[in-house]
Symmetry: C2
């Protein structure tokens, strides 16, 4: 049994999209799992009632697996991260995350303010020993299968030691949530050779090459990311700092728009295109776990559709059931013990 | 009259592609311009004779506008940059660049070893006062018109002051070579707000916002690059460090491949696709000037086709005729004088 807390107030289209996403998720989740809708009770109740009234009987029959958790405050998309910790202690984020600390929930999913969710998750769930920062692990579509890229925006200035931490976090994520045993880990750089890269990347390469317990395959270049592979084989995890990760991810976001514009002139139908480009929508792949916190905190895109919210809930369940957070803690502990300082 | 020196030995497909590119360029250049083929005389002569023999009469009639400049050594793609300066003083790169210093040529174009070309250009042509590094300015296709991105790989670790230098270099490039008066300059970051970014980017934003003579429009995000615009209007120049620039550019390179794979399944014909995606091939847009050196040094992609080499030669001509290098020197001098230190 897993109890997944959903930030009903989070995201550009909340609470409509969040509650619709919860209803979609109930249809896919095994019957023992439940969803906790966290937010202003009167607003959530009204929206839920309206959506249930318009739903078919089989959806209404699942409604008993939803519970409402009242949270008096709402974090706005424009609030500073610190607001999540000090300014609004009764926000849906803070309340939803505290459920895990109290042993009343297994995962938290939000499409709200990302900076606030990171701050609140770090503050409330805390970081595993051996980490200085959490990282956002995002799945990006590739010509092969989706690739885990991290950090996708949490940390804009990273040290070599932090890049190495990201590699360890990404390895556990790929193994536990994506079910890829012994995932291949690559470092994003400007050339394949170990001596290529900026200062942090060059040092991180040395550390990764020397560290045990990681299937480190060396540097990859920007061109390898959308292929999901380099000439040494498939790539499961791409490690980079949050500045590069954020730029690349947002660049990727607008590629379908660019292609649409280009192909529209060539007589390709919009329908053919839309179908083909759907696979490029990384937001649809579900939420991105905030890696490194002691617990499960899933970050969804602010523009998440009900389908994307549902996928975020499924990611939260997989993270919880695979005990990803525990595994991260164990791996980090064994690294600290096993490595001669 | 402009004399454009072409590194006949440079590039993966040299000298076949370089000489074919020179012949193509002659057809497009006004009749007063000439091309200097720099390389091992016997090899260049043999290849040129073979290509001329197979060419129609109107191409052969232009052959008098080609001159051969002998250079005994060749820089390999795997040579270290220092080889270009000390190891092979008689390379086609060194010889071709020295023609400018001697007043015998107006521009140098190469598809050879980029690191070597940067080192040789900096060493032989020297940098304008006020600069600590040169930058590669690459044109990348967008949904609007091509955008200048710099640095595209010359400098992996950049200070804020260097990012500001890149902004000035890019402004002159866009104005002189692309003919865009008062080009808009944007700084690539992880958010539009001035306080978003890594340490160097945040400091560069402050300096750019305070500096006169630049049409600085603030930060743009990764998604704005392929659009060639942000919500504040069109973007002509995108400033970033060479690590980010290189990753983004190589990522862009493999997007057509990704799209091809996705769309192939959707029943779109390869012909329709190929035509539409041709516009995404930034290598075809011609060479990228190495900005900041006192002279003209055009860097072409190692995989350049004859068409791309021809475009590189045309970029070299425009850079020479617009007196881009002089303008860069003047702008930098006025900045140094005009700014209270």
């Amino acid at each position: 049994l897993a109890r997944i807390a959903l930030d009903a107030m989070g995201g550009d289209h909340a609470p409509t999209a969040t509650i619709a996403g919860a209803l979609l998720a109930l249809q896919e989740l095994a019957p023992e799992h439940v969803i906790q809708l966290v937010g202003r009770a009167e607003i959530v109740r009204a929206e839920l009632d309206a959506q249930l009234a318009a739903s078919p009987a089989d959806v209404r029959a699942q409604a008993h697996r939803l519970s409402l958790v009242d949270a008096a405050e709402v974090i706005e998309m424009t609030d500073k991260p610190s607001v999540a910790i000090r300014g609004k202690p009764h926000s849906s984020m803070a309340v939803g995350l505290r459920l895990q600390v109290a042993g009343e929930s297994e995962a938290f999913v939000s499409a709200g303010n990302t900076g606030a969710q990171m701050a609140a998750s770090t503050f409330i769930l805390r970081l595993h020993d051996g980490l200085t920062r959490p990282a956002i692990g995002t799945l990006i579509p590739s010509a092969r299968i989706p690739v885990v890229m991290l950090d996708a925006g949490a940390n804009v200035d990273c040290s070599a030691a932090e890049l190495v931490q990201f590699a360890r976090l990404g390895a556990v994520y790929a193994e536990d949530v994506l079910g890829r045993p012994n995932p291949s880990i690559a470092l994003l750089s400007v050339g394949e050779e170990p001596e290529k890269g900026n200062a942090a990347v060059k040092d991180a390469h040395k550390e990764l090459a020397a560290s045990a317990g990681l299937n480190f395959i060396g540097n990859v270049e920007g061109r390898d990311v959308p292929m999901g592979a380099c000439d040494r084989g498939p790539v499961d995890v791409v490690v980079c700092d949050g500045f590069v990760g954020n730029v690349l991810l947002k660049f990727y976001e607008s590629v379908p728009k660019l292609i649409f514009g280009l192909l529209a002139k060539s007589g390709v139908s919009r329908e053919q295109l839309a179908g083909a480009l759907q696979g490029l929508d990384y937001a649809a792949h579900g939420g991105a776990p905030l890696l490194g916190v002691k617990g499960v905190s899933i970050i969804c895109h602010g523009k998440s559709s009900p389908e994307a919210i549902k996928n975020g809930i499924l990611v939260g369940l997989r993270a919880s059931q695979s005990r990803m957070s525990d595994h991260i803690g164990q791996r980090l502990a064994s690294t600290v013990e096993g490595t001669p300082a």
